[in-house]
Amino acid sequence: MTDAFQHQHAAHCETGVMSAILRHHGLAVSEPMAFGLASGLAFAYLPMVKINGLPLIAYRIPPRMIIRLLSRRINGLSMAFRKFRNPDEGMRALDRLLDDGQVVGLQTSVFFLPYFPQDMRFHFNAHNLLVYGRFGTEYGISDPVFSHLVSTDAESLQKARFAKGALAPKGMMYYPVSVPAEIDFQRLIPKAIKLTIKVSSRRSPMPIAGVNGIRRVARRIEKLADAESRYANLFLGHIVRMQEEIGTGGGGFRFMYAAFLQEAAEIMASDLLAEAADKMSEIGDEWRLFALMCARMSKQRHGDTFASIAQQMNKVAQMESDLYDLLSVYR
């Protein structure tokens, strides 16, 4: 089993891991398809949760949800999840699965993984990777956000699996117990799209999610004009990092979702979904422009102002709102 394992480079860790696990067990599911079927796309603004003093901003559903939703939705897919109180026991359980030839998914911290470039090593505890084998004291790792296979020593891996703090992984490992031969796309795709619209459209009851959340951040950006300039720049930089840098496939997952819609349009033979894919890709372009304006602002170049950046964000919100309205008639 293990020698047949094929590493594939992906944009995002969680979708990449799920896509790789399913593919390894003979079920062809691309990364965008895994993302779309899990209703992964979202927007959330949580001003009360602070990361380094800055509010939490996310372009997708919370960590772990993609894996959980996929295993719940796909008929016949059953995943085993295990957490450990004792780190040594957690490592032994991993070793046993590897010796049986299982490919195992792990939740880890990024900070303790030596193969990450120094500049990328932050205390983010909800990273996902696959372990495909054990070679002496080294573990062979297929980390979906790397273009190549990597490896790490047992001590670092244990530290990464049992890092403390927010979203502590507690040694979480997961692997499929049974994988179906095929997926009922005709049933799942409409269902998955429906949930995404429910969460993100202007009719969503949550003021901090989806279109409403984007508009709320836009209002916050307008007010940054009165804030200390260092904080204002950090705030904008923080949004852009969440959007572009943290393995989103660009444009805060919007391009990945466009790829899902495109694939779904072909499977369902739907012109509506094809049109939605084009629109979503245009929305991704507008998010990229927003990121560019923020970066220019922090370098004090060009004529960008907080008002113009907020205006750009409102434009994106309107485009997303229109797209969700368009998709809401899809059944």
Binding site: H9, A10, A11, E31, P32, K50, N52, G53, F111, F112, P117, Q118, D119, M120, R121, F122, H123, V145, F146, S147, K159, A163, K164, G165, A166, N233, L234, G237, H238, V240, R241, E244, E245, G247, G249, G250, F255, M256, A258, A259, Q262, A277, S281, A291, L292, C294, A295, S298, K299
Partner: protein, 122 residues
């Protein structure tokens, strides 16, 4: 980024949205640099205060290991004000080995390194 590339989804010439390899664009570089600079600034400021005895090496190492007070407190499972109290150099010098090890462990350091301060930091 030490030669690593990442995947993005982008529209190809044929109009299809496909994966592409990239080493990142300058916007990412700008914001990452900004985030790292901010950490350096905090660590340097804590270092200056630690040298003059106004804070303990704990605060410097906290920033240097890319944490902040909220993160460190959550990682060791104590209230922020209790962790902050250990920024007092006199108090920090008296910490029990167990407490020191707990701090060192969540930061990925050795306890003896946690107690020392590099001569220079920039």
């Amino acid at each position: 980024m030490e030669g690593e590339t990442k995947v993005i989804y982008a529209r190809s010439d044929s109009g299809r949205i496909e994966t592409a390899q990239t080493s990142g664009w300058d916007v990412e570089e700008t914001v990452l640099e900004q985030a790292i600079d901010e950490i350096h600034r905090q660590a340097k400021e804590a270092h200056t205060r630690a040298v003059t005895g106004k804070t303990s090496p704990l605060e410097f190492h906290m920033y240097n290991q890319r944490m902040d007070l909220a993160m460190l407190a959550q990682a060791v499972g104590r209230f922020q004000w209790l962790v902050k109290r250990d920024f007092d150099p006199a108090r920090f010098a008296r910490l029990s080995p167990a407490r020191l090890e707990r701090y060192a462990d969540v930061m990925g350091l050795q306890p003896d390194i946690l107690q020392t301060l590099p001569d220079r930091y920039d």
